[in-house]
Subunit: 477 residues, 2 copies
């Protein structure tokens, strides 16, 4: 395993950056700031042809001037100077690089020629590199961020491998808003040297990575991909979004990363054989991988639905059936255990629909515990468990008659969610939730504690279906 | 058209509320506050069996005590007293009601018996009513809000008809966050008297409503529904989410509103015949109806994609093809018009991919104008047009080296979007956008001006497909 070049790249203790300057609007400068001010404890050095210092640090003119050979080089330089610079870095003893520079294979024949040249130089020096035409890499646990976006969140368990740089970096605020946290993220770009397969094998062995998401425009080494994926998915879930299967997608990806896609059905077959869960959209890819990284896998497909809203209950039940999941009517015995905690007009059949406005205790504590403990249930879906969010809406009108501050109004509404948060681990069953409110104490608590929380009931069910599928993959071995 | 009872209900100039009290946690009280403090200019009266005043207003003990016959009654009373109360209101001359009280048909045979009684009383007095077992109604333009959630937004063009109260009320903060604005919303509940068909006919004629969304668990009057829908969709787009087609969905909806669903394929056939655009999820229902309420319908299916991100461009192109939309490679002439405004490494073929970091002017102004003006393009998709959001992320690291306040850092980043916002109306072609950032000046400007903005490229394309479909429906007449 130690032979995987990403082990050295993602844990580099020194990085030399070429392409950063004191111009804030330059991509290389942004990457340098994300490294310098992102908590990285290793050493950062700079190369610059004319500036004496970059971002307050001394800059070296050429690779030969470097005081030692850094473990990693980041190149965000003009296309034409990049091959010679890589050559110089190789001479200086650098053996690993991340090349974000674009203008290679994705630009047609002349670019492909230049990329071949880059690869030949790397091979001559034994350099292994990510890119070119990528957006950098992130190891959140090592605070090594060479992407164009700051990582303003705690590290997590989601590993991303992407042929799109945007999906690595520009999505970071989106992920933070949804409580989705990276372990590591790799923008493979043109994958000239280190490719999807290397990245998958690497994250498959990374202990911080609990589930892997892949954005794929085209797979270069089909057989190797299949073999590695089969091995990884036996112990770690993998979700893939593949967009190279349509003619329009293929044309777009050719001018993006120079990838060649294969027919869509072929990729479906690959996923089935390899045990990969296939997502259809980027939010599915992230949301499902997040759920897989944080929840135990269910041992079956029998789900309990708990809500106080009949519409979302019906939407969830409907989506379950469309996705091949079961919402069994509970036994009389189980219904009898639930009945004391719900209103006379509410249903205990499954979905358990508490109907409008109930004391929070039963919703949060007693009923979920009954559901998790039941041998009729493999996983639990909850819609609408929110507390302060709705009260905040109410305060806008209530303040006309009740003289109470927003804070005093909201504070007593907060649920104690600790008992609920413990249930998935205690019973080894997943919990997936949805509600329409974003700004809400309960919603924020879910996000803070890795409970997958979606904005719609349908999205929660689809994530649960991904958990069920990944559980089946692991059981088949 | 004036015969439609919803005309009187949704424009009532006086409302008597039964079921409100001075207990803030009661549903009726919440509804009363939403009416009293939501800008309603009509008269609000209260009935209460024991309290002398409710929310600071005098309360009448019985309907006979009312000083005049209000145009509308809202009943949020205990189930057992509701029929008698409706009878008393009828005696007093009330002819329209909204009955939110639950505990009727959805509770089985005894409840069905009680609902029949309620209906007989209404018929005896000539009362038309919404409900029972609903969450109220909203006319945002009249500031008549009888639901359980305050409507804290300006009025808009989306009319909602829903068999789920949650989708009417608890989604309001979600809609506000997405810039989606109601004209009117009707929670039909058990639809004992006024049903889906009445509601569709009414909103079809409402001048404030530009598009209609429907959440359906079961259609009672199939033939009438089809006839009214065919008539409405010729001039106003209708989106429907139907969840009664699966066995699990049907069981859930039976205990929710007592609805009986019909097979899923049958409903697909109804949609095809009636010209209804069928959504698969609640966010599709709202997002598509929002786009339909605000954008011109395209005259064909040829789309331009504009972005600075290759991954989202490919995702958009791929999703277009899956949805039967075209992303034609532009003519040499059109490419030549675009070329001066993009980097040498960027693609003008379609998708137009500007690649990472460009001056905003060309993205916002020059290139969109070329695309809208072209007779090769029926509609425009834009991903990633954001300005201050990414800068705000950057400021967290840039502040370590550049002493500049967040405000001073963000202000110069703001695009002038006025020219772009004018394009859809000027050229009669739709614009649908996506980006991953929520807190962003450009994103907020889009939301404020009714430009449909989605969080993912795939969601934007699906909304565009709904626009294309609605355009085809109107052209077939």
């Amino acid at each position: 395993m130690s032979a995987n070049p990403l082990q050295a790249i993602m844990h580099a203790r020194s990085v030399v950056i070429a392409g950063a300057s004191n111009n804030l609007m330059k991509m290389g400068t942004i990457q340098a700031m994300n490294l310098l001010f992102g908590g990285y404890s290793g050493e950062a050095l700079f190369l610059h042809p004319s500036e004496k210092s970059v971002l307050g640090r001394p800059a070296y003119r050429t690779p030969a001037d470097l005081p030692f050979a850094p473990e990693l080089a980041l190149l965000t330089t003009p296309t034409r100077v990049t091959p010679a610079l890589l050559d110089g870095l190789g001479e200086r003893g650098v053996r690993h690089a991340v090349i974000t520079t674009a203008g290679f294979r994705e630009m047609g024949p002349a670019g492909a020629q230049l990329e071949a040249e880059l690869l030949a130089i790397a091979n001559r020096h034994g350099i292994r590199f990510v890119g070119p035409n990528c957006i950098g890499v992130l190891n959140a646990h090592a605070h090594l961020n060479l992407t164009v976006c700051p990582y303003n969140d705690v590290p997590g368990g989601l590993g991303l491998i992407s042929q799109s740089g945007t999906y690595v970096a520009q999505t970071m605020p989106y992920l933070r808003e949804h409580g989705i946290r990276y372990s590591q993220a790799i923008s493979v770009g043109n994958a000239s040297n280190i490719d999807l397969v290397d990245s998958l094998a690497y994250l498959g062995d990374d202990p911080d990575t609990k589930a892997i998401a892949m954005y794929i425009e085209g797979v270069g080494r089909g057989r190797a991909f299949l073999e590695v994926a089969r091995r990884v998915t036996r112990r770690k879930p993998v979700v893939a979004l593949y967009v190279g299967g349509s003619a329009a997608g293929a044309r777009s990806s050719a001018s993006h990363t120079g990838s060649l896609g294969s027919p869509d059905r072929l990729f479906d077959g690959v996923c089935a054989q390899a045990g990969i869960v296939r997502a259809a959209t980027v939010d599915e890819m992230f949301g499902w991988a997040h759920a897989l990284a944080n929840m135990p896998l269910p041992r079956g497909r029998r789900l309990a639905i708990l809500t106080h809203s009949g519409g979302p209950a019906t939407s969830m039940a409907d989506t379950c059936e469309r996705r091949g999941l079961e919402v069994p009517e509970f036994s009389a015995e189980l219904q009898a255990r639930i009945r004391p905690f719900i209103e006379p007009t509410a249903s205990a059949k499954n979905p358990v629909d508490l109907t409008f406005i109930m004391g929070g205790d039963n919703f949060v504590d007693k009923i979920p515990e009954i559901l998790f403990a039941s041998d009729e249930v493999d996983g639990v879906l909850i819609h609408g468990m929110m507390d302060t969010g709705f009260a905040a809406e109410m305060h806008t009108v209530a303040s006309h008659v009740f003289t109470i501050s927003r804070e005093d109004f909201l504070k007593p509404m907060e649920f104690d969610l600790a008992p609920l948060l413990a249930l998935p681990t205690r019973y080894g069953k997943p919990l997936v939730a949805s509600n329409f409110l974003r700004e809400d104490h309960a919603a924020q608590t879910f996000r803070d504690h890795g409970i997958p929380l979606f904005r719609t009931p349908e999205a929660a069910v689809k994530a649960m279906a991904a958990l069920v599928r990944a559980g089946e993959v692991q059981r088949r071995g």
